[in-house]
């Protein structure tokens, strides 16, 4: 059974498609992130699911029931907004209780439910606090409890961590995931931060210009991007413009490289090599997949040392584990090598639906 299903949903503003022909099936209890650059249609998709806007084409289903004639109020969706949207005139307790009050839940049941939720988000002691007395992170926890109070069919989070500072963002990220697991609620999480999406989702749906580019588990998205957009958007990458010759061969300038054999038509393509998959080669090794260049930059990233290497005018990023062994310094000549399975040709088009 699908918790949320989009069937070729489109939303148009004039001639501009905010969302075009998007299909997505989210299993019950699954955590799916919608990711993409701003203006890619991820928030519009979320609002279509919530029912704030109606699709121009296609259909939205919650628990396998079409929502075509069901308004926001009766959809039973829990929404968490970027700027918390707590009611400033109500205490934390009353904010959480809001959805229960609209449903006329008996006082005793309401009280125990709200207390249980506040405990779940770790705010038991702050029930009487006004929103303005709470930190941003605490406000967002209250907002999360408020959204969960109505036992929604689906929890929709619209960039819930964007307004918070880095430290809170990281801890709350995993807390959201923990709470989601505990309550077993179907969740759709909108973010522009691909790292955030990769770190907490069961599956990631990548959007661009209103269309779905690829849907898959984080590892899949990271290692096997469907096209150049995905390869470029997710993580840090080296993308070489060249020509795919078929059968795992790729031409970049004068170099004939042996790469992953992918079902991609021969022709102009980009070759994607993750910085951590590039290896500094001892100079006497064989000539297969070997590029020589000069170190032009060194960036200290804590556990990693990132080198910029200039190879025939093209800049390569190379990540080395920051161990104590001597790393090349600026202006050193180095040889880079990689195994064919770590180099993946990607085309301009091609999508992998979920």
């Amino acid at each position: 059974m699908a918790g949320v299903e989009l069937r070729s949903v489109s939303k148009r503003y004039g001639k501009f498609y905010a969302v075009r022909n998007v299909s997505l099936k989210v299993e019950k209890g699954e955590f799916v992130s919608l990711v993409g650059p701003s203006g890619c249609g991820k928030t519009t998709t979320l609002r279509l699911i919530a029912g704030f806007i109606a699709p121009d084409g296609g259909e939205v289903l919650l628990d396998d029931v079409s929502m075509a004639s069901v308004g926001v109020r009766n959809r039973q969706v829990g929404i968490v907004f970027q700027n918390y949207a707590l009611f400033p005139n109500l205490t934390a307790f009353e904010n959480v209780a809001f959805g229960l009050r609209t449903r006329k839940v008996p006082e005793e049941e309401l009280r125990s439910r709200v207390e249980e939720l506040l405990a779940m988000v770790g705010l038991s002691g702050r029930a009487a606090a006004w929103p303005r007395e709470l930190s941003g992170g605490q406000q967002q926890r209250v907002a999360l409890a408020r959204a969960l109070a109505i036992r929604p069919k689906v929890l929709l989070l619209d960039e819930p961590l964007s307004a918070l500072d880095a430290k809170v963002r990281n801890s709350l990220r995993f807390e959201i995931r923990r709470i989601q697991r505990e309550s077993g609620i179907t969740t759709i999480y909108v973010t522009h931060d691909q790292e955030e999406a990769l770190s907490i989702s069961d599956r990631v749906a990548l959007m661009n210009s209103g269309e779905m580019e690829q849907i898959g588990p984080p590892g899949e998205i990271y290692l096997h991007p469907a096209n150049r957009f995905v390869a470029d958007f997710v993580g840090v990458n080296n993308l070489l413009e060249g020509e795919y010759l078929g059968e795992g061969r790729f031409r970049w300038r004068e170099h004939l490289l042996s790469v992953e054999d992918v079902p991609l038509e021969a022709g102009p393509a980009a070759l994607m090599i993750r910085p951590e998959r590039l290896v500094l080669a001892p100079s006497e090794e064989g000539a297969d997949n070997r590029l020589t260049g000069t170190v032009t930059g060194r960036v200290f990233l804590g556990p990693l040392l990132r080198l910029a290497v200039d190879v025939e005018g093209e800049q390569f990023l190379v990540d080395l584990l920051n161990t104590e062994t001597a790393a090349p310094s600026l202006d050193d000549r180095v040889s880079l090598t990689f195994s064919s399975s770590d180099a993946r040709p990607v085309g301009n088009t091609g999508k992998i639906p979920g």
């Binding site: 704030f52 109020r73 809001f98 303005r132 109505i150």
Partner: protein
Amino acid sequence: MLRRALWLSAGVMWFTYVLTPIALILVGSFGEKWFGTLLPTGFTMKWYGDLFSKTMYVRAMTMSLFIASLTVLINGLIGICSVYAVSVLRVRWLRRAFDFIILLPIAIPPVVMGLGLVQAFNWTSFSLVGTWQLLLGAHLVYTLPFMLRPLMANMEMLQWNILEEAGVSLGASPLFLATKVLIPNLIPGLLSGAVMTFAMSLGEFQLAVMVTGSSSQTYPVVLYQAFYVSTGFACAATTLLVLFSLLSLGGVLFLGHFFGFRGSSLALDS
């Protein structure tokens, strides 16, 4: 140094132009005689006795309080409905039009408005001139901008669109949202609007003098006539008006405190 000098001169001006006249009037209202001297001589309470024994003044004060209260009440309702409509419709030109419309009464002098009202509603068969209803209407239009300004600022700070979406997604009906979220959150704006409109209506003279008749005279109109009676009497009558203004201001502030509006830190400067 310059800052200090500026503060000092502001203080002196406030003292000279605001506090001194009020203080003199207060002193004068207890003075037996005030003629040719800097300060009045003798002490008496008789002016106040005179004031409360004259039904014209008591009735005018009642009328003034009645008109001012109704003005606040109706303008509060109009205000809430209008800022809600403007925020919900989200039409830009409507907002601009709205801004213009609410500024119009400020741009037009009350005398012009009063003349217009007398001309427009004075027919031989049926005349509204002289009725309190016409004055109420005039005061509503005249004071509405001062109710709307703080309400609009309040509404903007509230980010109502998002709060409304949150509320609706939690299953709230429009009525539930209005009574449990919108109005409680508009109380700061409503209070500052109420203080302004009440004070303006209570002390308004130009419209009142043109539009009212003997049965609907408001306090400022009769107060103006009091200066032809005697200085002491006029001072007592003026003191009463100041007293009522301050009392109503304090009352509104007390109400605000009583309703316990602590939930929001909305500061209203505009």
